[in-house]
Each structure stands twice: as C-alpha cells, then as structure tokens.
C-alpha cells in the first residue's frame, strides 16, 4: 500500500482580459478497487461565480466552473492524497486465452458482459487502424493468455516507438503514429487501444499521474526515472475477463501498472478524459503553464 500527495496546477495567462470563462475539469482522481482518495481539494482563481461537481458516464468526477469577473489569469490547483494497492496480477498470472475474451464480447449482439463492450468500438481519436491491428496481432499468438499477450504488446511499443515530445499534436490520428513510430504517452496509448480493439478486445484510456523515482529537482541522472517526470500521464486498461476485470498496462514505460500510477479518469480516448476544457469570451492569445508534483508519503 502506497500513499501519495499530488499537486497539479494549470495556469492560463491571457493577452487581453477575459470577461466570461466557463470550464469543465476532470481533475479529481477516481476511486477504484485499488485506489482510494483520502483528501481532495480544487482551488480556482479567480473565484468562480458558479461551480458544480458531477459524475460523467464513465464514473469520472467533474467540476464545472463559471467565472464572470474580468480576468487575465485563470488557475486551477488540485491537491489530492491517494492510497494505492498494488495489483495482484503479473504477466505470468493464469488468465483466460485472449480469444475467449474476444468471443465473449461478440456473442451475437448481446455480449455476456455489456459494460466492457463499450470499449471495443472505434472512438473519436482511436480509429480502428488496420496497421495498428496487424502490429498488435504479432503479440497475440493463438491461445496466449490475454495478460501475457497484452504485456508483450506493451513492451514492443516501448521498444519500437520513440518518445518524442512535440512531435505530435492533440489529435494526431493513429495511422500517423503507426507510420512514424513516435509520439508521447497519449499517442502510444491510442495506438495500443487501436490495436487491441482491432482484435476485438475491450480497452480503455486512463489519464493520471506517475510517481517517478530519483530526485526530480536535483539534476540527477534521468536514467532510472520513468518517463512522465512527475507529470500527467496516460496508459491503457484492458478487460481480461470477468474474474480479473480491468488490468492496466503502461506502453510508455513497458510495465504493468503497480503502485506508482495514480488514475484520474477513464474513457474511450483522450477526448473523454480531457483534464480541462473551456470557452472564454475575449482573451486573445494565451500562454499555459502546467506543474505536477507527486510526493510519496510512506
């Protein structure tokens, strides 16, 4: 069991005054079977004239803020303390063959387990790309357990794709990621989701944070640190049959999620979990600053 304190700050600075801003935030780490939120606050400046919290279709926690005082800076700071239990599964865990999971999803219109069925479909940023499916298929030998095959795919993506911040944009299609073989965690996650869904397997997008090792501000060697440097991060959640349920894999770091990933929101792809989305009147150009800090408490 690990405990973390997370602080995530997002700050917009506008060229001109903004008269009205309306924002939807998905910044509240979810409660799951392995993750418990102990403390959680969200501070917004300027103070919203109206704020409501609600849950979405996926069970994520959302906030809606309306700011109606003129402002040139908008900041959201979320602070959370979470407790995380390690997943019991390893790549070697006994698990159903991947074909069994696939067939359970395709039981002539009425799958036995309808909830994961949402995540076998294409979604706005995860097209069912034939190249992604073909690439994924190499990891899914006949009869392989779903967990071993998914882990193999996770490791191959880490090996075959270059981590290159700035090389892609917010809506780079999967086909382009597959062709260029580079990107950031969001791109690797989308590529892996496309491959898995192309094989008929249910897979979700997870957004969250990652605790990195080493001293983040001491100029230490980065070799032993996971990519995602105390940052917001993204990875994949695969449905591994009714007994195991959802199991998470991190293709950016070639590992199964254990105790160092803090999940914030689940969805079909990035569009379902966008941390902050807003509409402003006025403002002109804006600059954005994001700072994430994850601190281990035990």
């Amino acid at each position: 069991m690990k405990r973390y304190a997370v602080r995530h700050e997002t700050r917009y600075t506008y060229q001109f005054s903004v008269d009205i801003g309306m924002h939807v935030a998905r910044l509240s780490p979810v409660n799951t079977s392995l993750q418990r939120r102990l403390e959680h606050t969200i501070d917004v400046t300027p103070t919203p004239v109206w704020a409501v919290a609600f849950s979405d279709h996926f069970g994520n926690g959302l906030h809606h803020f309306a700011i109606e005082t003129p402002h040139t800076e908008f900041a959201v700071v979320q602070k959370t303390v979470v407790e995380i239990s390690a997943s019991a599964w390893t790549p070697a865990s006994p698990a159903p063959a991947w074909e069994t999971v696939r067939d359970a999803m395709h039981a002539d219109a009425f799958p036995e387990y309808p909830e994961p069925a949402e995540f076998i479909c294409a979604s706005p940023l995860v097209q069912l790309d034939p190249a992604a499916a073909a690439y994924a298929a190499e990891s899914f030998a006949p009869g392989a357990t779903i967990i071993a095959a998914a882990f193999d795919l996770t490791c191959r993506i880490k090996r075959d794709f270059a981590y290159a911040p700035g090389s892609t944009t917010i809506d780079t299609p999967v086909s382009e990621i597959m062709a260029k073989r580079h990107g950031v965690c969001q791109d690797f996650t989308h590529a892996m989701l496309s491959g898995l869904r192309g094989l008929g397997l249910p897979a979700r997008y997870v957004s969250g944070y990652l605790k990195t090792h080493g001293a983040p501000h001491a100029g230490a060697s980065h070799d032993d640190r996971l990519i995602g440097a105390d940052a917001s991060h993204a990875w994949v959640s695969v449905w591994c049959g009714p007994e195991m349920g959802w199991v998470e894999f991190d293709p950016t770091n070639a590992l199964m999620v254990a105790e160092e990933h803090i999940a914030v929101a689940y969805g079909r792809d990035f569009t379902d979990v966008t941390p902050l989305r807003g509409i402003i009147t006025g403002g002109g150009e804006h600059t954005l600053a994001v700072a994430v800090r994850v601190e281990a408490l035990n």
Binding site: T10, M22, H57, A117, I170, Q186, A231, L276, V290, A291
Partner: protein, 828 residues
C-alpha cells in the same frame, strides 16, 4: 410486374373499383369542375406555397423545392384513431428507452438492447448521461414517417426523435389548401390543427411553470440558413414563443438568458430545432456556432428545460427497430400497434447471412445514419453490389436490412389530370404531462418511386392531410377551419439585441436603396433622352459623382464621358444581377429573413417587391429599368407607410426608425456635399438636382413660385423642419426616437451629438447675402457642413451599435488544456 408482387393500396379507390366513401365529396367537386378551373386552382395552390416561403429559398441549404398538390390525403376518423394510438404508444416507448439509455441502462443489462447500438451510436451523447430532468421527459415532440402497406395497415418507415418538423408544415399546407380550394372545405368536417397547437403551447407553459410562474419559452433555431427555418418561424409565431438563435442566448451562473435591449431575460424552456450535438460547444461539439456555451450544465442543474433532450436521436436509430417489440413487451407490457416496416440489424449473424445470400430481397440502410440514402440491392449493378456487400461484411453492425415496401397510392395532379402516386405521411405528437397528443393532420409527400425515405426539409410535392371528424360539422368551427384563422397570441415582449440590430439595418438599407433608386432614376431618365443638352450634361456630371460617392458605380466609370457608352454601361450594370443594387437588395433580403417572425405578411410582401430583380428588357433597356425603379420606389413608399401606420410602437420599431433617419440624413448630406462642393459651375443645376433627389420639388414649387433655383432653396432640404425629406426633420425625428429609448443612460452621449447637430442647423444661415463674391465660400460652407454632419451621423450609428448590439458579436474561443506529455513544451 411479377405475379407475386402485391398490388398497392389505393387511398381513394377500393378493391372493387369503387370510390371510398370519405373521398366522395371531394371527388364530386373535382369531377364537377371544368378541367381549366382545376388546373388554375392547382397552379394557384403552387403559387401560394411558393409565396409563403418566397424569400426563404435564397441562402437556404440545401435548396428545398416544394410543390403543392391541390387534393388532400383524406383519413377517416376511425382510422386516424388507430394511427394516433399507435403513434402515442411508440412515443411513450421511445421516451422510456431514452430515459433508460441516459439513465440506468438496464435495457442493455437485460439483453433487450444491444450495447453496440448505444455505445457505437454517434447520436449517443455521453455528456447527457444522468441529465434527465424531473421537469420534463427527454422526448417531448416525436414524429414518424408512415407508409400504408398493400394490406391497408400503416407501418413506420422512420421514427424521428431528434428535432423533427411536422406541425409547422401542416399549418402552412392547410392555409394554402384552404385558400386555393375553399369549396372543398365547405361541407367537409375536418379536424382543425389549431386546438392541438394551443394545447402544445399550454404544455410548454406548464413545463415552464415549474420553474417560474411566468416562464419564458424560446424556440432555438439554427437560423435563416437552415432549410427548415420557415417552419421554425411559423411555429414560433403559432406557439407564441420567442424565436432565438444560439447567439441570442447566454448562460450566466448556470442559468440561460435571452439577450434583450433591456438586459438579460431568464429563459425557462427551450424547444430546440438545433441538432443535439450542436447545442453546447463547451460539452458537445466544440466547433458548433449554433449552440450556447454552458447550456448542458444549465440543463444538468435543472435551471432550464431543453426539449427534446440532446441525444434524443438515439431513439430514431434504424438499427433499434428489430428490438422495439420485445422492449415494448418488457416496458409497457404491450404489443406495438403501429409497427415499423420489417427491419433486421446486420450486427446479428442470422440477418447478415440472409442478406449476403439473397441481397436482391433487401434494401440496405445505415444503422446510425438514416439521412444517408439507402441502397436498393436489387437495383445495384454487379460491381456496385460487390462493393456494397464488402462494406457490409467489413462492418455489419453499421447496417440494417429492410423489407421492400410498396406505398399506398393517392391521386396526384399531373399534366393531363389525376394519377395514382406513392405517398409518405409525416405525423407528429407532443407530450403534455404523461400523455401524448398526436396532432390530427400532417404532411403527405408524393414520392416518385416506392421506398422513399427522404428527409422532410428537402422538399418535394406535398398535400394537406385531412383527418375527418365523425360528428357533423359545427358551423362556426367549420368557418374557422376554412381559414385556419390565426389566433392572436401574446407578442413576446422583449426585443432581442440581434433583432434590434437587424431592424436598425433593415431601416438603413431600405433608405440606402431609396437614395440609390432615386439617383439612378434621375440619371437614367436623362440618359434615355439621348443627345443631352449642356444643362443635362452638367447634371449628368453631378450624377456621376454622386453615384460614385454612394457606391453605386465605380470610380473610373464615374470619370468617363457622361454621354459615352462606358458611363451608360456602368449605370446599367449597377442594376443587373450582381450589381450594386442587387447587392443591397440581397443584404436587405437576408436581414428580412432573419426577422421573418417579426414582420407582418404585408411587410413581407413589400420586402419581396422591394428586392425583386430589376427588369432589363433587351431593346427597351432604359424603359424597363425605369419601370422597375418606379416599382421599387413604390414598394419603398409602402414600406414607409407600413412602418408609420401598421407597426406597433415598440422598441423594435424605434430601432428601425432610428436606422432610417440616420441613413436618410447621411444620404441628404452626401447629396449636398457632392452637388455643392468643389465650386459647381451651375449652382441652379445642383439645386434643381438636390430637390429632385430629395423628393422636394413640389415643396419647392409652393415656396418658390418663381421657379428660381437659387441657393436659398437649399433651405428646404437643410433647415425646413416640416419637410420629411429634409435634414432637419431627420434630426428632430432621431432626437425623439432616442428620447424614447428610456432606461438606457449611456445614450446621453448620443443625444448630445444629435442636439449639437440640430443646433448647428438652426444657426442663422447667411442666405440673405448672396453677393457674387461670397458665393463660392457659401457653397463650400454648405458642402463642408454637410460633410461633417454625415461624419457625425456615422459616428452616431457606431455609438448605437456599441451601446446595444456589439455584445452579441464577441467571438468565443475554445481552450484546451495541455495534454499528457506536453508539459515540457508548454511550461516555459
């Protein structure tokens, strides 16, 4: 026709070749009428329908082509009761399905609804999950396209749950039919539409009353460029609700407001005719310019009721049809009495294999996109069929197969009389409390072939739909049904900012056209005489400059010899399609369209006449042009008269008046400046023209009987307060209208400006001293005075825009947060 093909049901004639009883009266009339008379009535009906939409057709996409068939589709009362009950049952069912899909989703868990049809459905809007309101059901208005099968039974060809049209069209067709074929209504006992519309209005009021005892209801329209806009306008009028575009509304503190001249007015109920996903750029489609940012949050908070709930289109998914009977049994404990045409979802193995085996038996339709034309696999060529089946195999869940349908036949007017044609019937129902009320009537569309699934807004040939009453006609009721007398509804009190803006510019453009028409008439009437005299040459020179300054002809053309071909051509070109006159006519028309719900029928006809293209008859060019200009000026006269006599003295009219007065003032100043500035060679010519252009020749004749065109005569145009074509009159009128904009303190500045203009006009004019040496200074003084007055009037227009209109045009921008992994780049 093969032997096993069924024979289509005939609406008018029974199997025994006898006229069905409910058609007897109408057909007796038709057959008793000389064919020419019938043809004339038919032509008049088509004309009335065209006139009803007249100005709408421009700019609407796609261009709807409507035709009107004189004969109605007649449905006897007993039969309608069955259809209505079936319609209400389907509406109840689809509403329950929406409540479930956007709520607990037990239908999916109970294996009654395939998850694929929800989760892979583009109409399923996830942000609306758990947003069902206790104040109103997710489905409020439902429509269906029906077809009658050879066995006489009605079937649903398509459910419509997004934001379907029906009632507005039905009202329109009823009024056209009643006008064109009144004798048919004389003895018929027909269900009127008005009581249903009134009840619908009451239902909307009742929903709003849960939020406010005096609720404000708006109809949200995508605007004049939408092909269904005419229906939105008509419905808003009939339901006595405010017609609003997304930009007319704003969300503050989680509540929806209408922007009005008196500030923000709370909105409680929105009947939307904008597709669900376009309703809110914050939580739905970010690229939508048709919605209101924050609207979904306001709905979620229960501060406004939005009907139908965005995402309601899930219920019209064609793929749902095969599963509805079982869901009806489960949720209603009933069998569907008005079933859909037989439909199979290809996401299931059985149907897929069936279609692949015998494709020629089926029509293949998109499971999620009913708007995409279906494939009739029997009519596909070999290569085409192979491609279609490959697409089906690749994504079977995206398709449904439907049975081939043979529509019933109705008599339709064709070149040589009546012919039986396939028909589709669009009917609608609204909910009030827990009850559904089918509207007794609808839209019958003539199809050219069977298996028509065309969207209603795309047009076609239509018929009025009569639902006959069983009981004998009540005389007064019948008289009313004859004309579908329009009920006088409470006029929405608040004038939206956009509406005020539009009215202001309607006034300005009308006056600009007035000035242009007069200038062009003066020019053409001199050109038409040929070989101009020296005086006419001098006048034409002045006209050339004036036409250029007014933006009617180009700079180069205005410098060409006025007795030459270049100048003549340029004047004529300004009035051809694409010319400057047509451009202003077009601008005026666009504004009128977006004001359609606020203009009376008479005003509408006047605008229509005003924007009619100028006739150019080859050989008689000048004469025909002069005729057109005269007609346009007559229409402008009618416009002024209607504004003066027939428009309620409200805020809206005030803005129209302000726009007119400002523009007329600008035009007068422009004429004075152009005609008197720059040391005119012949001052009398300038003065004479000025009087002519300002329609003040008669006034002048009374005041100056000696027919002298001295500079003193400019008094009539500039300072004479009684001349409605004079500058002083415009300024006084402006001042009065500005005073009337009560409660708007920022106007102090505007009023000062007008006061200042009035004062400078009242200053003693030096006309008494007309000694020759000061003459040049005098004309120049008048010209520069006019110039500065024009500048101030333009400034006044800008000031008013800033005070009242600008806040509706602030662009909204969407901001996305940095994505995962981009922090390095973003945080500099």
């Amino acid at each position: 026709m093969t032997a096993d093909q069924p024979i289509a049901y005939d609406e008018m004639v029974s199997g025994k070749r006898a006229l069905r009883p409910h058609w007897r009266d109408v057909m007796a009339l038709v057959w008793g009428m000389p064919p020419e008379m019938l043809r004339e009535k038919q032509a008049r009906a088509a004309g009335h329908l065209a006139a009803a939409d007249n100005l709408f057709t421009e700019g609407a996409e796609p261009l709807p082509q409507w035709g009107m068939d004189l004969l109605p589709l007649i449905i006897p009362d007993a039969e309608w009761q069955g259809v209505a009950a079936g319609l209400a049952q389907r509406a109840r069912l689809l509403n329950l399905i929406l409540e479930d899909v956007y709520g607990p989703q037990t239908l999916i868990r109970d294996k009654l609804l395939p998850p694929f049809l929800v989760f892979n459905n583009p109409a399923f809007l996830r942000p609306l999950r758990f947003v069902t309101s206790p104040l109103a059901p997710p489905l409020h208005f439902y429509a269906a396209d029906l077809v009658r099968m050879p066995d006489g039974g009605w079937r649903v060809l398509a459910d419509r749950t997004q934001a379907p049209g029906a009632v507005g069209y039905a009202l329109r067709h009823r009024s056209v039919a009643a006008r064109s074929f009144p004798e048919a209504f004389r003895n018929a006992s027909i269900h009127r539409l008005q009581p249903a519309v009134d009840q619908w209005q009451a239902s909307l009021q009742a929903i709003g009353a849960k939020l406010d005892e005096n609720p404000r209801i708006v109809l949200l329209t995508p605007g004049p460029h939408n092909a269904s806009y005419p229906e939105h306008v008509l419905l808003a009028q009939e339901l006595a609700v405010t017609l609003a575009q997304g930009s007319d509304l704003t969300v503050r503190e989680g509540m929806v407001y209408l922007r009005t001249l008196d500030g923000l007015a709370r909105v409680h109920v929105i009947y939307r005719r904008v597709d669900g996903e376009y309703c809110d750029p914050l939580e739905l489609r970010a690229d939508s310019a048709l919605g209101v940012a924050g609207l979904v949050a306001a709905v979620r908070a229960g501060n406004v009721v939005l009907l139908n709930l965005p995402g309601s289109a899930v219920a019209e998914t064609p793929g749902l049809a095969p599963f509805l009977p079982a869901i009806a049994r489960k949720l209603l404990g009933e069998e569907l009495t008005l079933p859909a045409v037989t439909t199979w979802w290809c996401g299931q193995r059985g149907p897929l294999e069936e279609v692949l085996k015998t494709p020629e038996k089926f029509i293949l339709q998109q499971a999620f996109h009913p708007e995409i034309a279906p494939w009739d696999l029997a009519r596909s060529g070999d290569a085409e069929l192979a491609g279609q089946l490959a697409a089906l195999r690749a994504a079977p869940g995206q398709y449904v197969a439907v049975e081939r349908v043979m529509h019933s036949r109705v008599p339709a007017f064709v070149e040589n009389g009546l012919e039986p044609r396939p028909v589709v019937l669009r009917v609608g129902a609204f909910s009030a409390g827990n009850t559904w009320y089918p509207v007794p009537g609808g839209v019958a569309r003539i199809a050219n072939t069977d298996d028509q699934r065309q969207a209603l807004h795309l047009g076609g040939t239509v018929k009025d739909v009569w639902v006959l009453k069983d009981e004998p006609v009540d005389e007064t009721g019948n008289a009313e049904s004859l004309l579908e007398l329009r009920k006088t509804h409470r006029v929405p009190d608040a004038v939206g900012s956009r509406v005020a803006d539009d009215l202001f510019w309607l006034g300005r453009y009308a006056e600009r056209l007035d000035a242009g028409a007069r200038q062009l008439r003066s020019t053409v009437s001199r050109l038409v005489r040929g070989a101009p005299s020296p005086r006419e040459m001098a006048e034409l020179h002045l006209m050339a400059r004036l036409l250029h300054n007014g933006g009617w002809i180009g700079a180069d053309d205005s410098k060409a010899p006025v007795d030459g071909a270049v100048f003549t051509l340029s004047v004529v070109t300004s009035m051809t399609p694409g010319g400057s006159v047509a451009r202003y006519q077009g601008a005026l028309r666009q504004i009128a369209i977006s004001l359609r719900d606020r203009l009376s029928q008479d005003m509408w006809r006047i605008v229509s006449a005003l924007t009619r293209p100028i006739a150019h008859t080859a050989g008689d060019e000048f004469d025909s042009v002069l005729g057109s200009i005269d007609a346009m000026l007559m229409a402008l006269g009618a416009f002024s008269g209607t504004v003066a006599e027939n428009m309620t003295r409200g805020m809206g009219r005030r803005f129209l008046e302000i726009g007119r007065r400002i523009e007329r003032g600008i035009q007068i100043c422009n004429a004075v400046d152009t005609l008197l500035g720059g040391q005119p060679a012949r001052v009398e010519a300038s003065v004479r023209l000025l009087l002519e252009l300002c329609d003040s020749v008669m006034t002048h004749r009374k005041r100056f009987p000696m027919d002298s065109y001295t500079l003193a005569a400019t008094d009539i145009i500039l300072t004479e307060g009684l001349n409605p074509r004079g500058l002083a009159y415009q300024l006084e009128a402006l001042r009065k209208e500005l005073d009337g904009l009560i409660g708007h303190d920022p106007l102090a500045e505007e009023k000062q400006l007008v006061d200042h203009l009035i004062d400078s006009l009242r200053a003693p004019t030096p006309f008494a001293d007309l000694s020759h040496d000061r003459f040049g200074a005098l004309t120049e003084g008048l010209a520069s005075g006019a110039r500065s007055c024009r500048g101030e009037l333009i400034a006044l227009s800008d000031m008013l825009s800033r005070s009242f209109f600008t806040h509706i045009k602030i662009p909204q921008s969407v901001v996305f947060a940095a994505r995962d992994g981009d922090e390095d780049r973003a945080a500099s």
